[in-house]
């Protein structure tokens, strides 16, 4: 019969229309921004810098190695390296960024900066409501705006952050164990030397060298 297909199709739409009043599954839209969908854990949009501790600028993990700047496909990261060094989370003196800008209007959220970063310093945020009237002021995030605490990172990506923390703790433990072993070996050697020579002077020297080697190992 001509028109049968059309009627069948209309029955299907009617079913969906009526169904949307009773079944949640058929009513798929939400009233954004009043209503929001729950965040999916792996969601990424723009990068941010992770810091440890309370002081954002002192605790930045970034050592200004500029790998992300080089690898960034649309070249939206701009870093200036510091002249001096400050200690990082394992206590080793490192450079830090005096300027770290990300132009989020150019950023394409590809996550390559996160992948190439050897220091777990840059991660992906989930904040997406960034619209602003000012293209150059509002969309270029400097290091103050980019810095977010490790706790925040745990909040948005709990699984990933736990993995990262475990990895960093392991690394730190390894470094400390190595330093300790080196210090002990040096101290033992120095003690043996001191015993042989019998001078009090040598013990002080050994302690100094042990400290030095520990620093060097770190």
């Amino acid at each position: 019969m001509l028109g049968e297909g059309i009627l069948k199709g209309l029955a299907e739409t009617a079913k969906n229309f009526a169904g949307s009043f009773v079944s949640e599954e058929r009513l798929t839209t939400v009233e954004y921004p009043e209503q929001r969908l729950p965040q999916i854990e792996n969601t990424r949009d723009f990068p941010f810098l992770v810091y440890d501790g309370d002081d954002a600028m002192a605790g930045l993990r970034c050592v200004s190695c500029q790998i992300c700047e080089k690898e960034c496909p649309p070249k939206c990261i701009y870093i200036t390296k510091s002249a001096d060094k400050k200690p990082d989370y394992v206590g080793k003196a490192q450079f830090y960024p005096t300027r770290f800008d990300i132009d989020v209007s150019v950023c394409m959220s590809c996550q390559i900066c996160v992948e190439v970063c050897p220091f777990e310093a840059i991660k992906m945020d989930t904040e997406f409501e960034l619209s602003t009237e000012d293209r150059f002021g509002g969309l270029i995030l400097d290091r103050h705006k980019l810095a977010k605490s490790n706790e925040y990172y745990h909040q948005i990506h709990p699984t990933e952050a736990a993995e990262v923390d475990a990895r960093l703790a392991e690394e730190k433990a390894k470094v400390e164990a190595k330093a300790k072993a080196a210090a002990e070996a040096a101290a033992a050697k120095a003690a043996a030397d001191a015993a042989a020579k019998g001078t009090a002077d040598a013990t002080a020297k050994a302690a100094e060298s042990a400290a030095k080697s520990a620093e060097g190992q770190a």
């Binding site: 990261i77 800008d101 132009d103 150019v106």
Partner: protein
């Protein structure tokens, strides 16, 4: 399907005097290619399509090979007249010279051919067919293979647009992606971007250089 080397023999047997060469590919993919001279390209292509069964041209593209300047030390032996012990003799003399050689670059059109006729039972690597222009500047003409494989029609237009290879016998050779008034060929390796400065807050490399030049120019104009 036959390998590129076997096809080379077959083609040379079927068309005596055809100018063909095998270009080997050292990568793990081992997709070797046939380099065909421009004047023989059309009849080789027709043979490949109608006899060898390569009825499907998957990909056609251009490659730009710049002029390569190589310097190498060459030992040459010459016969030199020399006085040895007061008697004039001809002696072999070996001289080491640094030779600067410029390998002329070329534009290359590359075609990847498959066979649809063979169907799904015979997986085979693509047959890569290459043609080279005489140089990169004025002798950039190649025969169009789009009469043989229509699939090359838009792709050859694209090569013409981006590399500047002129395909003779193409039914409608116009720019494909750039606008008609555009002059250069942007995919060439020595293409220089037009000097249109655009402010960028996070400049790098060349953009940074250009931004600095632009700023200097502005400052000079301001001083004046």
């Amino acid at each position: 399907m036959k390998s590129a080397a076997e096809l080379l023999d077959e083609l040379q047997g079927a068309m005596p005097g055809v100018k063909l060469a095998l270009a080997t590919n050292p990568s793990p993919s081992a997709q070797h290619s046939l380099v065909v001279a421009a004047e023989d390209a059309l009849r080789v292509a027709v043979y490949l399509r109608d006899v060898a069964g390569y009825d499907y041209c998957s990909n056609a593209t251009g490659v730009d090979w710049l002029d390569k300047e190589t310097t190498e030390k060459v030992k040459t032996t010459r016969r030199v007249k020399k006085e040895v012990d007061g008697v004039e003799q001809e002696v072999d003399e070996t001289v080491e010279e640094t030779v600067k050689r410029v390998e002329p670059g070329c534009l290359e059109a590359v075609y990847h051919l498959y066979s649809m006729r063979q169907g799904p039972h015979d997986p085979h690597p693509p047959l890569v067919l290459r043609m080279r222009t005489a140089n990169r500047t004025d002798r950039v003409e190649l025969p169009s293979l789009s009469p043989v494989w229509r699939a090359a029609e838009f792709q050859e237009r694209e090569i013409f647009d981006l590399y500047g290879i002129v395909f003779k016998g193409h039914r409608d050779l116009r720019r494909l992606l750039m606008w008609d008034e555009f002059e250069d060929h942007p995919m060439r390796r020595d293409y220089v971007d037009p000097d249109d400065f655009e402010y960028e807050p996070t400049p790098h490399d060349e953009v940074l250089k250009r931004a600095e030049e632009h700023r200097a120019k502005l400052a000079a104009e301001g001083a004046r």
